[in-house]
Amino acid sequence: MDLDKLRKTAAEIVSRDDVKYLLGWRRGTFGYRVAPYFIEDAAGVDELIFSPLCISNLATYLTLVEKLPVPRGQEPDQRKVALLVKGCDSRAVAQLLVEKGIKREEVVVIGLPCPGMVDRELLAEKYPETEAAAEVKWDGEDFLLVGEGGETAIPRTEVLAEKCRLCRHPNPVISDLTIGEPVEPWATADDSGVAEIEAKETAERWAYWEEQFSKCIRCYSCRNACPLCYCEDCILDRLDPTWVNRAVNFSENTAFHLARAFHLAGRCIECGECERVCPAGIPLGKLNRKLARTVREEYGFEPGLDPEAEPFQAGYKPDDPEEFIL
């Protein structure tokens, strides 16, 4: 990764009059943490990084940032938001455009071909985090951990994030400019995580999800981290009528997770943020990937590839394969 080029480009973009800020990443405060980074002026780019730890999807902030009413007599801030996107992140931007969640002229998309990200928890299991911030780099096919104890080469397969192992779109599908050379897709079709659940008997599968959903503490980190869960008035927060009780138990938790999963069918771009942020380790990625695969196989549709596409659940095609409908 040519960090100098990235920073130079970022400085140019953030200095533009029509750009409000640039969304990137910076080193976290300790260990392997990386934090989303809002850069407002060229001086801020020195801290900007792009490394195998930059797993989070910044497209979430396009809809998460509150838009307060503009005081009388003032003009709304029409400036653009610039953001760095990996392949998966760019699909979120494309899908937001499809859904008219954002407008094209509101964003400057800087594409970063992605050689794959590290699963921080896997890394920390093998090489415990310390209070000193450590760095991870790409090193050919492998990762290189640079910390207090010097440099350690880590085979890619050992700590590669699951979503990256399955990634079919490592190169940004939409961008105003791209930094870095395109990478060869390396996806494996072997989604063993989903296959394992599919292989279970119905009762066994139910028991599996009962155990998983029972762990949920309803912190809504999955919903909030999801770039495509951005309803202004979420049914989960509704009290009148109360669609989902606030009570935390298996039944209500299941209602929550299934409602979310179905709302994302044909929209989820498999960035894996829901599962990454879950403090309870609920395998939400598997749930969403199962639905994404169903949509792909049964309807021949993959979301977030074409910003001009018709939204999947709002469209009708006479030539849908729909082989599963009797």
Binding site: G28, T29, F30, G31, R33, V34, A35, P36, Y37, F38, S56, T60, Y61, L64, E66, L68, E121, E129, T130, E131, E211, Q212, K215, I217, R218, C219, Y220, S221, R223, N224, A225, D237, L239, T242, N245, R246, A247, V248, N249, R276, V277, P279, A280, G281, I282
Partner: protein, 337 residues
């Protein structure tokens, strides 16, 4: 206070017997560690890591029925008292958090639900010999072997546990198990003190809160709040899993002609937390919400009860998916003074 020794070869007998008393201890459930009921006769294995979910969830459940009601009935049905319980392996920070939260639940109104459950709970603590990298209990008035809130404090001395009773409840329990215990020699207590000293020395990522409560009201409009909250996802991880966060909402759940009134955890990080019926929200963005989270712990609670409502367990910093780090925020507050 007496000091007794429990040799580790008697540990399984000790926990086996305790398990007859509605015993709860840390257990791993997937990626999450929390207190779980110990089956009778089962041995408990304690390790260094603290639980993901603090034991506050047992005395202040995430969802709790306050009463039940039904159409045509003027009488409310109140829930019965929970069975008494013993919590084993509670970390001193989490026990101290219960002592702090109790101040609130005893304040202008004595909350019978919380206080009765707290009264019926015995806490057996385990001192920390190996603080986690986000621990900073010793900076905020606690310590790796702080007795506050505990009934019995256990310290791992290697071959044995040192048991010190803190309260009458603890003393009675130690008395009950005296056949398994022996009088602790003076050097055992010294060894424990050395372990505490060593543990405190291992705490690196910390901050001295001196001056923070006074500084916070002055920094109300400081740009630091925008900076530290920009990346916030507005989820409930930091507050739900905080041992001192105690905000709750009360809602009615009605199905057909009957229902229940329940209290459930709420979080100041949620958008609808202080949203008024009119639609107005005095905390309209994550900036005000983050500011509230820090102010509640390091300013408002201090004004009201004279003590910081943070025990330095490090969960919020450790579990935040976007690296919003309490120590970092507090250091910025100090720098902005």
């Amino acid at each position: 206070m007496s000091a007794m020794l429990l040799h580790k070869e008697k540990w399984s007998e000790f926990t086996g017997k305790l398990s007859g008393k509605n015993l709860w201890a840390p257990a791993v459930q997937g990626e999450m560690k929390k207190f779980a009921r110990v089956a009778e006769g089962q041995t408990v294995h304690l390790d260094e890591d603290n639980t993901t979910v603090p034991p506050k969830a047992l005395v202040f459940p995430q969802t709790e029925t306050l009463c039940r009601f039904s159409l045509g009935q003027t009488d409310l049905e109140l829930p019965g008292l929970d069975e008494e319980m013993v919590l084993l392996g509670v970390r001193p920070c989490d026990a101290r958090a219960m002592a702090l939260v109790e101040k609130l639940f005893r304040w202008d109104f004595e909350d019978p639900y919380y206080l009765e459950r707290r009264e019926r709970t015995t806490l057996i603590g385990l001192a920390c010999n190996e603080p986690d990298l986000n621990c900073f209990c010793s900076s905020v008035g606690g310590g790796p072997a702080s007795p506050e809130g505990l009934d019995i404090l256990m310290s791992d001395l290697g071959e044995s546990y040192l048991l010190e009773d803190i309260t009458e409840k603890g003393k009675a329990l130690v008395e009950e198990f005296k056949d398994l215990l022996e009088e602790a020699p003076a050097d055992a207590v010294k060894q424990k003190e050395q372990l505490v000293e060593d543990a405190v020395a291992k705490i690196k990522w910390n901050v001295d809160p001196e001056g923070i409560p006074e500084a916070l009201p002055q920094l109300w409009e400081d740009p630091l709040w925008e900076k530290v909250s920009a990346a916030c996802l507005g989820c409930g991880i930091c507050t739900y899993l905080c041992p001192t966060c105690h905000c709750f909402d009360i809602q009615d759940e009605v199905e057909g002609p009957a229902g229940r009134r329940c209290r459930m955890w709420d979080s100041c990080m949620f958008a609808e937390y202080t949203k008024h019926t009119s639609g107005h929200n005095p905390r309209p963005t994550r900036r005000e919400r983050t500011r509230n989270r820090i102010n509640h712990k390091y300013s408002y609670f201090v004004d009201k009860f004279g003590v910081i409502a943070c025990v330095g367990c490090g969960r919020c910093s450790n579990l935040c998916p976007v690296n919003i780090d309490l120590i970092d925020i507090l250091r910025q507050v100090k720098a902005a003074r």
